[in-house]
Every structure is written in C-alpha cells, then in structure tokens.
C-alpha cells in the first residue's frame, strides 16, 4: 500500500494551479481531501507524477446562501457542509445526505468538489447534486464555463470536465420554502458506500405534487437522475399508486452491477425500497 513516487505542488491561487496542470498535462492531477485519490494511488491504480494540492487556494473555499442560490466552494469539506447552519436551513437535504457519507474522520478532509469531480458512481454527492439541479463552475486555461450536474457524468470516472479544468464552485438553486426532502441510503456499515441510495425533493401545492426531483446513487456507472420517476409524482396527490409508479420508473432507469454488496436482483429491489422510503419521508416533510 505504498504509492509510486510523485512531485508535490501547493499553489496558492487557481491561476498557478492551472499552469502546473498545463505544464504537466496527463502527468498532473489536483488533490483535494485525498480520500478518494490517495487510496487509488496506494493501490497503484492511479500513477500520478505531479500532485497539485488545492488546500491553500482560498478562493475555492466558502459557502454563500444569499439570493436564491447557494454557492459552495469546491474545497468546502463535508464536515463544513454539515456544520454550516445557513446552508442547513436553506437546503437541509445537503446536511441529511452529508451525514450519511463515510465517518467523521473522512468528512473532516473530504470535499464537495472532490466528491463530485471524482466520477465514482459510489459517491453520494453527484446524485445529490443532480437532484438539486446544481451547476458546476469549471475554470480552465480559457476561462470559466458552467456545466449542469445532470449533464456532467459520462461513465465511471469520466466526466465533462477537461483534464486542465478545475472545479471552482457549485451553484445550487435554493428550493422553495416547504419543499419536502429526503436522502435515504442503505450501506453495509459506517464508512461504506451505498448499496443503494436516493435523493428526493417534493413540492406540493393545493394538495397535489407540483414539482419533484429524484436521483439514484451507485445503481449504474453514473448517478441516475430519474426524470420519469419524478414525472410520475407531479400532478398526483402523492397517493400510493403515484409513489409506486415513481418507484417502478426509477427501478426501470437504473442498471446496477453485481458485486460484494449483492446481486443485481437484490440491488434493484433495495433501490425500490430505499426510494419508496425517501419519497415517503420527503412527502411527509412537504408543505
């Protein structure tokens, strides 16, 4: 469990980080909390010549929740997401989900940026960001651009981000007051990735569902934003039939693989159970 040798860089602004990335091309990679990257390096599945540490780049930190949008710096840790009261009252779904990631030790270092940029289908935040319709602000040699979370994930470890781009900030529209939310996750133990997880937002107006968003985690090689599942809820009174239809649509959309957590048949079943519980909880919170 010893990684191959590498050069370590610690720039203090995005520009400097970008030039190191440009200089070394394929050989270079940014490191945030290191809790996904370092294990890969120790397993020698990632061989990186130049490690560019983002810890000292102040402009990648900070959480703002004014206006209708929350803006979260890529280097904000999962621990900070949990302890930031402004964020918790604006988007309580983020705290609920973050508390289900790993354990406190990991969360002290693991960042939101690393979690969403990583591209590992096991990560919880990509699905969460799709559910929330987040926008990822990427900064590269040619300036900045924004990619919606729902269009960011291409395959396991492949994203819309170019090698020479850094994820700088995440912009999340703050859901309207009274939006019901839930993050439900089944895992084998504390510190484990999801067997199945789902993020749900539900808005109700006059007794019927006016808007919904549903995303599923670790049930395909990318997170699955299940538009059809949400559509099954919208316009309904959130009755049992609508909820079941939403579950059926989501299970249709996922494509899990068999692994140590269990065979495909089991994962599909559990995905449905987990989603149903998330819908039930979100609906009970919607007003």
């Amino acid at each position: 469990m010893i990684p191959a040798g590498f050069e370590y860089h610690r720039p203090t602004d995005i520009g400097a980080a970008l030039s190191i990335l440009q200089e070394h091309g394929d050989e270079a990679r940014v490191i945030a909390g290191g809790h996904s990257l370092i294990p890969m390096m120790k397993l020698r599945m990632a061989d990186i010549g130049h490690l560019v540490d983002l810890q000292d780049i102040g402009e990648l930190r900070g959480i703002a929740t004014d206006g209708g949008t929350a803006v979260i710096g890529a280097m904000v840790t999962q621990h900070e997401l949990i302890t930031h009261d402004g964020l918790a009252s604006a988007i309580p779904l983020i705290r609920e989900a973050s508390l289900q990631i790993a354990d406190p030790q990991v969360r002290y270092l693991g960042t939101i940026g690393g979690n969403v940029a990583n591209g590992d289908p096991g990560n919880d935040m990509p699905g969460l960001m799709q559910c929330l319709d987040a926008q990822f602000e990427l900064t590269g040699p040619d300036g900045s651009r924004t990619v919606p979370a729902r269009a960011f994930y291409e395959a396991a470890y492949f994203t819309a981000r170019d090698d020479e781009e850094i994820l700088a900030r995440i912009h999340i529209p703050i859901p309207g007051a009274g939006t019901g939310y839930a993050y439900e996750k089944q895992k084998r133990k504390i510190g484990d990735y999801a067997t199945a997880a789902s993020a749900v937002l539900i808005s109700v107006q006059g007794g019927s569902c006016s808007a919904a968003s549903i995303a599923m985690t670790n049930l395909a090689d990318t997170p699955i934003w299940a538009a059809a599942a949400a559509a099954a809820l919208v316009g309904s009174s959130l009755d049992d039939a609508a909820r079941s239809a939403a579950v059926a649509a989501a299970v249709e959309a996922i494509d899990p693989v068999s692994d140590n957590r269990g065979p495909v048949e089991f994962k599909k079943h559990v995905a449905g159970v987990v989603l149903r519980r998330a819908i039930d909880r979100a609906a009970s919170r919607a007003s």
Binding site: R188, F266, H269, V274
Partner: protein, 806 residues
Amino acid sequence: MNEQTLTPEQRTANLKGMGTSRKRVEDVRFTQGKGNYVDDIKMDGMLFGDFVRSPYAHARVKNIDTSAAAAVPGVVAVLTAADLEPLGLHWMPTLAGDKQMVLADGKVLFQGQEVAYVIAEDRYIAADAAELVEVDYEELPVVVDPFKALEPDAPVLREDIAGNMEGAHGPRKHNNHIFTWEQGDKDATEAVLAEADVVAEEMVYYHRTHPCPLETCGCVASMDKVTGKLTLYGTFQAPHAIRTVVSLISGLAEHNIRVISPDIGGGFGNKVGAYSGYVCSVVASIVTGKPVKWVEDRMENLMSTAFARDYWMQGKIAATKEGKITGLWCHTTADHGGFDACADPTKFPAGFMNICTGSYDIPTAYLTVDGVYTNKAPGGVAYRCSFRVTEAAYFIERMIEILAIRLNMDAAELRRINFIRADQFPYQSALGWEYDSGDYHTAWDKAMKAVGYDGLRAEQAQQLADFNAGKTRKLMGIGLTHFTEIVGAGPVKNCDILGLGMFDSCEIRIHPTGSAIARLGTISQGQGHATTFAQIIASEIGIPADDITLEEGDTDTAPYGLGTYGSRSTPVAGAATAMAGRKIRAKAQMIAAYLLEVHDDDVEFDVDRFVVTGAPERFKTMKEIAFAAYNQAIPGIEPGLEAVSYYDPPNMTYPFGAYVCVLDIDVDTGEADIRSFYALDDCGTRINPMIIEGQVHGGLTEALAIAMGQEIAYDDMGNVKTGTLMDFFWPTAWETPNYQTDWTTTPSPHHPIGAKGVGESPNVGGVPCFSNAVHDAFRSFGLTQSHMPHDHWRIWKTANGLGLHG
C-alpha cells in the same frame, strides 16, 4: 496503621490479587501511543523487504526476470526460489506436517502467493522495485471448490506430492486430498440413525474468514556476523516454538537465536504459524549482515497469511420423539487451501472438532474430516478459538436448532433435556474427551430468567402476527446458544506441535526488598497477562500485584513455553504461575519458621505473611522473608527466593456459557438490527472480572463480524474479492450492540486455581448465537438452514426464497 493493625481483608485488598478488577497495567503505554510494536523497531542500516505476489490462483511460473528491479538504485538484492534452493530454504515445513513454498518454486497455488522478495534501503524503493520484477506465468485451471477438487478429473494442485498417497496423517485418497480423520463409532452411530424416531440432516457451512488483527504480521531479522547471533523480532504468538523452528530449518544453533515478541496488536491465531516473510528476512539478514524488516500491508494480510474456518459440515442428528438425542454423525470437508498450514496439535489434523457433541449427553457419535487442497491461501488457524472449536460449536448449535424444528419443539427446552447433568462430570464424551466440570442447567436457567425468555417468545409471536397482518415488515429472531469449549492444550501425552509438548512455564524471582519479576512462556497480544498473572502471584505468595513485573516474549530470558493461542495461557501458564508461586511459598515457610524459631509446621500462611499457629502477633511478612532469603545464612536452605515451574496439565479445561441474542430483521432490505445480547460465561475461577468483561465484549464483536458479514470470498478464478477493509467487514462502534454480561463459577477441578480461560468463549458461543437468531426469525416460514455470513443480500435472499416479498 501498620503491619499489626491491618485486618486480613485490608491486607488482601492491598495485594490486588485474584478476583480484583485491577486496572490493566499495559494500558498506560497503549493509551498513550507508547507501545513498542514490530514496526516501531528501528535499527542502524536497517533494510526493508517486500514481496512480489502472484496475481493468479494457479499458474506455472515459467520465468522470473529480476534484472530491472535489481538495477533500481537502493535495491540490495532480489531473492527468488532459485536463490533459496541451495540453502534448502525454498520450501519450509508447516505446523501440520506438510511443507509450503517460501517463494514460488515452478508454480503458484493461490492468489497473493510469494514469488520474489525485494530487499532495499527503504520500503518505498522496495515497493517500486517489486513492480519491476517480471514474472512469466502460464495460467492453469483453478479449483476453489473443495468438492470439485476431489472429483476424479480435477487438476492436480500439489504436483510435488502427486502420486504420493501416504500423507502426514495417513493415507490420501486423491491427489488433492490431504487426510481423513476419523473419531467415534461408525457402526454404532449408523445403527442409531437407522433406528431413530427422528433424524434431522443438514449441511452446515462455516465460511472462510480471517483473524485480521489490527497489527498485521511482520518481523525484523538481525544477524550479527561478529557474534554469530541472530535476533528475530516478530509478531509471534509462539516465540519459543519459532526459535526452535528457525533453528531446525536454518541450521543455526538454537542458542545463537534470540526471538523477541514485542507488543503485539492482536493475534487471534493469525500469528501462530511461520510465514515466508520471516524466512526471507532471516536469509536476507544473514546474506547482507544487516537488519531486515518486513511488515505486511492489510491486503497482504487478508490474502496470504492464515485464514480461518472454511468447513463444510454435513450433519445428522438422531432423537426420540420426545427429543432425547440418541446419536450424532458428521462428515466435514475441510478446505485447507494450497498447503496444509493449519496450526493444530500434531495428532489433531482437524483440531478439536471432536468436541462437536457440545454440551449434550449424546451417547453415540461418529465424525470424519477430509482435508482438501484448493487454490486458496493456506491457514485454517484457530481464529479466537481453540483448534476448530468454533466450527464444532457452530455445527452442534445449528443441528440442535434444526432438530428442534423437526420435532416442533422449543429450542431452549430441547437443550435443557439433553444437557450433560452436573452429576455426570467428569463426563466421558462419545468422541473421546473427558469434560472436567460443568453445571449447564444452572447456567441455562439463569440465562433464561435474565432475558425473560417466555416473555420474549410471546413478544415474538405478537410481532409475527403483526407481520402476517401487514402491520410491520420486521421479524423478530431469538438466538440461543449453549456452548462448551475445550481449551488449554494441553497434556503432553496427546498434545504437541512439531514434537514440542504443549506444557507451559513460569519463573518467579523475588527480589531482596520483596518485589518480584515473573517470566512466562506465553505472550500477550492484548489479553492483559501482565495484569492477571501478577494477580495470581499476588494471591499465591502475598506480594502486591503492583510490586510484580511480568515479562514474556524474549526467548533469551523467559522459560520455554508453547505460546498464547487456544485460550491456553491461563489453563497452562497460569497453572505454572500458581505452581511456581507455591514453590516459593514453601521455601518462604521454612525461612519464616527459622526466623520465628518454630518448627516449619507451626507457621501458617495468612494473606501476605506466615503466622505462628495460635500466636497471631508472631509473624513474618513476605517482605521480611524475602530480605532474609538474601541476607541470612539459614542452615539447610540455599540463599535466594525464586522458582520455576513447567506445567503439564492433566486435562484440558472446558469453559461453557449460555448466550441469548434478540434481533429484528427488515425483510425488505435484509438488514438485521441487534436489540440485545446476553452472555453468561463460566470460565471457572475469575481472576480479573473487568478483563473478563473486556474479553467477552471483544470476542462477541468479532463473532458479530463473522456471523453478519465478514468473509474471505473468492471468485471462480480464485481472485480474492474481499481483500480490503472496504469489503472485509470489521464492525465499528456503530454496528456494535450493547452486551449484557453475566457469569456462573464452576472451578476446574484439576487446575491449581480452578481457572479455565475465557478470551475465546465469546467468539465460540457468539457466532452460533447471532446466526441462530437470524434463522429463528424465519423459523415460522420454514427456514432450516441458510449459510453465513448473514449480510444484507443473503438475508434478503432468504426472505425472497421464502416468498416474503409478495
């Protein structure tokens, strides 16, 4: 207050002897991060070794090119089997009478097998260079299923012994067969089965898992070319035996070898055997003249050093209609992996599996075990149990439940009517053991009362009714277990390892000022020996435990012993400690009598002193006696006050216990939620109740791990699927339930202080208890057996198979 005015109770309390919850003296350094483990050892010029390991489970090694690795600056040497062969060290003997490749000799037999050993100036260089060793493999067909391994056309795994049909434990019936071990009366058992009212039959699988101690295996070998002495530090549960083995296989004289086990971060059986890392490090140090360190990483530990269990136990249990058990039959197929490297006493190739009649008075029984080679890692060690006792306990405790189902009886009642009665001890079991003592009914009734058994069953019935009415999706399970262990190996007449009798030892020296040092042949890996053995001495000779230093693990200073595993330290070395203490007390009595000018028989021992019979004001404290031993010329008595005892136990000890687990199962997700766990242990005389409780908590948590998720799983290609802690289940505080501990005390009649050993009981009893609880939740839906580990998807699969998903 002075020596005169303290009451006997106060003086007893000052000793902190047996029965006291004395705080662990080890914890002062452990809790401050000041322990001294193998990887903490740093020596001048120390080199580091790292292995190149096989990615394949079965392959021919056609060529190994080490040139690129050897050319890396900082690499000192790269060893392969070809380098070890001239020394005769490319293979080594195993503890089970087999031999094992130190480095791949022409082929590999399991994924992770050691192929080459890189020695470099630091561990980073060693790891980089190991990547550059080029090995040319030719893949061979892989066999991971022991039943397939025995098919007529199965590939021959061990070509080195192909056609040699006489093994270390008798005839071999197939090239992939290792031994057949047979116990009990076949004909009588078959007759009982044929005539019985009821016979329940089932295959009970105890899956492959791994002890996975927090600290992995490692060593530092240091050859001093000037003195010709080899010092070997290592994570050894049996340092003296390792010294003898090193001497035998290296040809170095035994007095020139010093083996030191420093602090050990858990062993659980993983650190009993000898590994390639030790041999290669010793060779590397001899060749280079420099100290060489080797420490496994976690994946290497899980993939290559000793696994545990992997027993397929086909069982038949016969009973009358009323539930009286009349016979037990068991055939076990034991998967040993590529080499037979089990750590069992020589005459017991399947360990003490013949304790599988458990706590029950079963008049007739028959057991056979077939050991089989497969393309998996070698091992088969006793993971927190005495040799194969956990397999035996799991087997019988499942068979009892299965029989209860067949008889439509309550499983607690079925146990009660079949327990060996207190008046039957010493009890001769059908499979050859003499149980020294026990009182199972008392323990069982206490347990049932403590948990409110009838109330639990009523609650379960209500929950089942609610489930059937669609009001809940959770099922309640009540797991019962009454286990009997056999520990403290053991009598030299039938227990040895590599010909070394399994006695153990203690040497005590009393210093002139009345404090003491004691050394034992065992070695603590977390059991707290420095605390508890000092308590035995304190009670035996009346010196405060706090004034006694306890040392283990240095073969140059400690007396010879067979080490710590199989709960043998207290039964064997603990007995030696008491006996050595008694020798000292006997001499102290003579000194006291001389000082008090009375006859030897006219003084008697009183807590911490000898008192003239009938004249309590006339006494000599142990402190005074110790000083006299060193400053007075006493006629007929040698100066000094020390003693050594080598203890050969007359019998094993038989700890037992009654456990109850209550859990809820979510049939939709397969999750199990442990509601409560009650553990009553009877380990005979209790030396330190706090340490017992700690041992029980630890053992139960390992039992939880094994029963609920921990496994070494292989795919069909022989790839290890659970090689990291992401997939190999280690419970955290979060998954660990609260435990309620309890006890009864039935002292061992043959042990000097009546103690039996406890560290392994909770694992032996815990695994069947958790598993039985899972099974019990589904009993009313017709489940008889579903194999461990009971992780989410397997529980879900059970529920699904029973039609519970609608």
